[in-house]
Amino acid sequence: MKAKHQRLILALVALAGVGGAGVLAASALRDEAAYFRTPVEVSAGKAEVGEAMRLGGMVAKGSIVRQADGLTIRFVATDGKASVPVEYKGIVPDLFGEESGMVADGRMRADGTFVADRILAKHDERYMPPQMGEMPKDMKAAPKA
């Protein structure tokens, strides 16, 4: 009976220790494990010109402009607090669109434009039937964060 309790306490203490170490490691990784940088981080100077990085954000409403060559697009990536102009030459995923999330691989140019080599679409956690998607925003079921 005694040994059993000793083992239980030992296992729980060890588990708490390892769990704590895991949480500490995860929180130390917070910035390093980020898949992309946000426009706020970029405008705060966290991106050097020419450095390979990923930029993630929402495509600002009405910002997609197709250039004369028919392949190059320009748009503005925003996170609500800051925005970064993006230039990309190539084919975008079907889900790429205005007021929708995207992640771009590329680098900052000296003029403050992000030049993307590749663009991925990021969707949010909401799923609903099409009829509701077409409804005016204020009629939709409130999205839960």
Binding site: K4, R7, L8, A11, A14, L15, V18, G19, G22, A26, S27, L29, R30, A33, A34, Y35, F36, T38, G56, V92, P93, D94, L95, F96, S100, V103, I119, L120, A121, K122, H123, D124, E125, R126, Y127, M128, P129, P130, Q131, M132, G133, E134, A141, P143, K144, A145
Partner: protein
């Protein structure tokens, strides 16, 4: 605790329970798959592609739930030396790994048409891949080891490995919250679901169906280990009798 330690008592419950779990599980699974594929509308944004969630979500849930159960079994083995704990952990490992692989595969197939990529090293995908490797490590560690010949108990090392590996479970769960990632945030939280009710109900069926199926597979595998033990014990007795 040791009242339930008896494999005979376990078998008395597990034997009649197995066909029920299997039958009801398959039924719910088929109903959920049918409803998810034919009865509910596609997603407003992703269209038909989103229907893969009826397999992807249960797979993720069972991959992670499998390791959680495996870790609990490891703790019970370590502290109470419960004879069924090691057997349970061994029985869980293979289906747990299978569902983790299914989650990664369906996620990859889903990622290509929606995100535009089969694979990215973001927090969610990387931590889920780590879970697959943890399962592989556990299976390698426990296959043909001393414990397998001694009735299916876990070695101290394997039990500790199961417990330490459990740290990855909250990391997978929080990966899309702690770090910005390509994978979207959680849809189903304690506060509710951001999957609309019209699309959500088949998911309930497949999650429950896959879970019952998982339970049935685990019970069958546990029963097989116990049967192996009995065969081995009988052979030993026979050998002893002949030797005498």
């Amino acid at each position: 605790m040791h009242a339930y330690a008896n494999p005979t008592r376990f078998l008395a419950i597990a034997k009649p329970l197995t066909p029920w779990l299997l039958g009801v599980g398959l039924l719910l699974l088929l109903a959920g798959a049918w409803a998810g594929l034919t009865q509910v509308p596609g997603d407003y944004k992703q269209g038909e592609t989103a229907r893969i969630l009826y397999v992807h979500v249960p797979s993720a849930w069972l991959g992670m739930g499998g390791w959680t159960s495996l870790a609990i079994a490891g703790l019970v083995q370590l502290v109470w030396r419960h004879p069924l704990a090691g057997i349970a952990a061994r029985a869980i490992a293979v289906p747990g790994m299978l569902f983790t692989a299914l989650c990664l595969a369906t996620g990859s197939i889903w990622g290509k048409p929606t995100w535009g990529t089969w694979w990215e090293w973001d927090g969610r995908m990387t931590s889920m891949l780590v879970l697959l490797f943890l399962y592989a490590g556990f299976i390698a560690l426990t296959s043909g080891d001393e414990g397998q010949r001694q009735g299916g108990t876990l070695s101290r090392g394997a039990a500790i490995y199961a417990l330490v590996g459990a740290i990855n479970i909250p990391i997978i769960n929080r990966s899309v919250v702690w770090w910005n990632s390509l994978h979207q945030g959680p849809s189903i939280t304690l506060r509710g679901s951001s999957i609309d009710g019209a699309l959500l109900w088949p998911l309930g069926l497949t999650v429950l169906g896959f879970s019952l199926l998982f339970g049935a597979i685990v019970l069958m595998r546990m029963r097989r280990i116990i049967a192996d033990n009995r065969v081995a014990a009988r052979l030993r007795r026979l050998a002893d009798d002949e030797g005498a």
